[in-house]
């Protein structure tokens, strides 16, 4: 934990939610990221929510171009990036206009005053300067001429004003770092290493940062300075990680744990592309990445690699999954391991590519022709993507099946502190291949039957290259045992049931109530995926207010935990918050005939804890087993 020697006496807050908003060109993602990292190094618990436009660079200064980064830091364990911001940094009028609604009443509003001039105001659609508005009276408004102060500060290093302009985000970062007593070194170190060799840029960014810091110190903002103490995290080594990185590392880990080379077949698509980028860097681990011509080729190649003995993975988002349906059916029919990663985004169709949603669950369950069951796992937090990637690999490799891994845009890009696991403590994944005959043919000679199952119900996989075990696989119905093409009606029925049963029989952990649950509350909230944080936060608040609510969070969506039916039936009311129109809730109702009710949000944004808290409170007040769903 880094020491903040300079601000021992600043008043302490238990948490704060800060939102940086500016033009896409203003570097807000970087600013947020740096603030987050400094806070992480300082020891806070935290959660982040980056939000950026679908355009590469929407016209500067417009509403469409606004990019924002929200970070929640605290001295205790938190689960979401926060419902509303305590502090909003608005780098230009468009950012003010688009994001003011995210600021709590009475919150601190820091604006870059220099940008509130005619051209920018017009681009944002203001016909006057909102800084003069009464509306802002309800906020604690701090106007800072960030651009000009940055230029001034940079001038002495010989940085041209135009170039200096690019450093104004470091001014904002410096100011906020002062206000929240963040450590300085991590940011300085990062600037040095990131821009190594570009001395002028280093100088400009440092100067801007320092100017911002000094501005806080000197400009009578003294009263604003607070500290958010480190959180009492479990001892260990921490890093701040986002979901896509955690997922990538989890796949690398699974490769190491199983002893199989990792093969990624992928086609770029937001918000999954970063996994391709990340894994492309890890050639040292023998990782092969293949950017295919399309999503179908990507999964096709992953199937080919898997057939050859690699850990075959394909990563994509909803539109890509919609294209891979037929190929997944092939992997199911071949009974080959494979991981299909879906980083869900707003749909349907192209939808909202950079926004989050979780509306692909039913497609994951049913989006293939014929009876083609496939296990599904879902991560709950950014760091959980690491564990679930290993779990997906375990299921795929041990049970010889394609597995769907569901994440979403919020987990993919959001980050949290992660206590690094002990590498040696990670359980190995045992993969066995056939190397010998398992049958005797009519003439009494040894032969190999690729579908003659062992006790575990698995078919023997003989990798190409294995002497004597040559055999043919295919997507046409096959005779169980010999694997020969078979049009026999009874065999087909047997195989359809077998494929179904073997997936249904995959052991998954029992559903366990989340911390704070009592087991006999008035309401059970059932969640899956990235809603974990918001539900957990909401449940806490409800409990604090005296409400009795329990929470169970599903990591395995297919098969479902064996005890889930009993668990659900033991509650009078079941509420299922989802970032869709109610998908898991349909599965639960069909499976267990319980009157679970949906809580739906489809705005391209994660739930806030407040939204779920409200719905829980409403439900607690309402009749048990009520009929109508609620919409956040």
């Amino acid at each position: 934990m880094t020491d903040i020697a300079e601000a021992p006496s600043a008043p302490a807050l238990d948490e704060v939610i800060i939102r940086f908003a500016g033009d896409s060109g203003d570097g807000m993602q970087l600013t947020g990221d740096r603030f987050t990292n400094a806070s992480a190094m300082f020891g806070n618990d935290l959660a982040t929510l980056p939000e950026y436009p679908a355009e590469i660079r929407a016209p500067a200064g417009t509403m469409a171009g606004v990019s924002a980064f929200q970070v929640h830091i605290s001295d205790h364990d938190i689960t979401t990036p926060g419902d509303a911001a305590d502090v909003l940094v608005a780098m230009n009028p468009a950012a003010l206009k688009s994001d003011l609604h995210t600021l709590v009443p009475g919150g601190t509003l820091i604006v870059n005053r220099d940008t509130f001039e005619e051209r920018n105001l017009a681009k944002a659609g203001y016909d006057h300067n909102p800084l003069d508005d009464e509306d802002l009276a309800g906020y604690s408004l701090i106007q800072v001429p960030m651009t000009s102060l940055t230029k001034e500060a940079c001038a002495e290093f010989g940085v041209k004003p135009r170039d200096a302009d690019r450093s104004k985000n470091f001014f904002a970062l410096g100011l906020l770092s002062w206000m929240y007593s963040r450590p300085i070194e991590p940011t300085m170190d990062w600037i040095e290493s990131k821009f190594a060799g570009k001395d002028l840029i280093i100088a400009a960014n440092r100067a801007a940062f320092n100017a911002g810091h000094a501005y806080g110190e000197t400009a009578e903002l003294g009263s604003q300075r607070v500290i958010v103490k480190a959180a009492p995290l479990a001892p260990g080594t921490y890093t701040n990680i986002n979901g896509n990185t955690a997922l990538s590392w989890g796949l690398v880990a699974a490769s190491q744990l199983s002893g199989l080379p990792l093969y990624l077949g992928s086609y770029p698509i937001t918000p999954a592309t970063d996994i391709l980028h990340e894994l492309s860097k890890h050639k040292a681990f023998g990782v092969t990445t293949f950017q295919a011509e399309d999503e179908i080729a990507a999964i096709g190649a992953a199937i080919g690699a898997s057939y050859g003995g690699s850990l075959g993975v394909t990563t994509t988002s909803g539109p890509g999954v919609a294209l891979k349906g037929e190929a997944m059916g092939l992997a199911i029919s071949l009974e080959l391991p494979l991981i299909v990663v879906d980083i869900q985004r707003g749909g349907p169709s192209t939808g909202l590519p950079t926004k989050t949603e979780a509306a692909d669950l039913l497609m994951a369950m049913y989006g293939r022709h014929g009876e083609s069951p496939m296990p599904i796992v879902a991560a709950r937090t950014p760091s959980d993507c690491f564990d679930m990637a290993i779990e997906a690999a375990r299921i795929a490799l041990v049970h010889q099946t394609p597995v769907m891994f569901l994440s979403d845009g919020y987990l993919a890009n959001g980050s949290e502190p992660w206590r690094l696991p002990e590498v040696d403590g990670l359980p190995t994944i045992e993969v066995r291949y056939a190397t010998e005959f398992n049958m005797v043919d009519e003439d009494g000679n040894g032969t190999f039957w690729p579908f003659l199952r062992g006790e575990d119900g698995n078919r023997p996989i003989a990798l190409p290259g294995t002497p004597e075990l040559m055999h043919r696989l295919g997507g046409i119905e096959k005779e169980d045992g010999s694997g020969n093409v078979s049009y026999d009606p009874d065999n087909h029925e047997h195989m359809v049931h077998l494929r179904n049963d073997r997936i249904a029989a995959i052991p998954v952990p029992e559903a366990e109530l989340e911390e704070g649950s009592e087991g006999d509350a008035d309401l059970l909230v059932v969640g899956w995926g990235s809603t974990w944080g918001a539900i957990a936060g909401a449940a806490r608040r409800v409990r604090v207010a005296g409400g009795r609510v329990d929470h169970v969070h599903l990591t395995h969506l297919n098969p479902l935990p064996a005890n889930l039916g009993d668990l659900l039936r033991s509650y009078q009311r079941v509420l299922v918050p989802e970032l869709n129109l109610g998908q898991l809730v349909r599965i639960l109702r069909a499976e267990y005939l319980v009157d679970a009710q949906p809580l739906s949000k489809v705005k391209g944004q994660p739930f806030t804890a407040g939204e779920i808290q409200f719905a829980i409170t409403e439900a607690l007040d309402g009749p048990a087993g009520h009929k109508e769903g609620v919409t956040a």
Binding site: Y238, I296, G300, E468, G474
Partner: protein
Amino acid sequence: MTDLLNPATDVDDGPVPETSRADWTSDQEVRWCPGCGDYSILTALQLLMPELGVRREKTVFISGIGCAARFPYYMNTYGVHTIHGRAPAVATGLAMARPDLDVWVIGGDGDMLSIGGNHLIHALRRNINLNVLLFNNQIYGLTKGQFSPTSQKGKVTKSSPVGLVARPFNPISVALGAEATFVARTHDMDRHHMQDTFRRAHEHEGAAFVEVLQNCNVFNDGVFASITKKDVREDMLIDLQHGKPILFGSEKQYGVARRPEGVVIVDVAEVGIEYVLVHDETIRNPSTAFSLSRLAKTPATPTPIGVFRAIDRGEFASSVSAQIREVQAQVGQGDLGDLLRSQPTWEV
């Protein structure tokens, strides 16, 4: 941590055992229509394999869907009958993961030029080590007789009852336009020519593309008869031979020569042998090969067979693994603990 890349590559399996056709024949009953051209292609390959000095267990046949795509079932090797059009994609993954294998891709004109056209051209462009045999019967066999992307304009089929409107692809031109490094054509009526061509494809480092003219005697009978029947072959097939002047006809009286618009057929006596084009598969510029691919517009005029192009260019899968090896040589085998600590960390 262990080296996970291509574990199977390094094993020394000793000398390749002698095999016979029977060793390469699976126990599956062949289910093509009696008289189908696919039979002779199968025979050609089953007879050729023992000569290639390869192991059955290191040989994999990958196919899509169609009559042609049934092929893997009949070879006593590893094999996957995948889904329609996707064989080149599946084979690409396999060949990347397992450079030690000899991977063959089999498919029909529908499988590989209609639904699978994109995977084919990308596999050729990348130059991945596959032997791609396209059985071109100018028809959809398995679905019982619709036109394919190689069917001739005007063709009456079940889905073009008053005649096909579109013009066909020329598979050789498509392959050359897609940067293929090995491009050849053969036909189902000449076992030796098939074997020579398949052998060459097998020997090629990179993607080898072979168009096999194949008779579908049920839905498109005799479509190549006017060039492949024994008695017309001499006059109608132009056998390309590297380093030799391109001549054909019973008395080698015809030849191929360059003209401004491309190559054309000439009467050798008229132009003189010195004007006859000497075939060179190895020219890096594919223009001449392309020009040769345009000689015959329909299978009713003299048609070149043999190897149009065979050049060396970095093979894809081995280049990909070479990159990995290089990184490993520089930074060593990856360490998981180090990976987890590769971003800024802090201790609590």
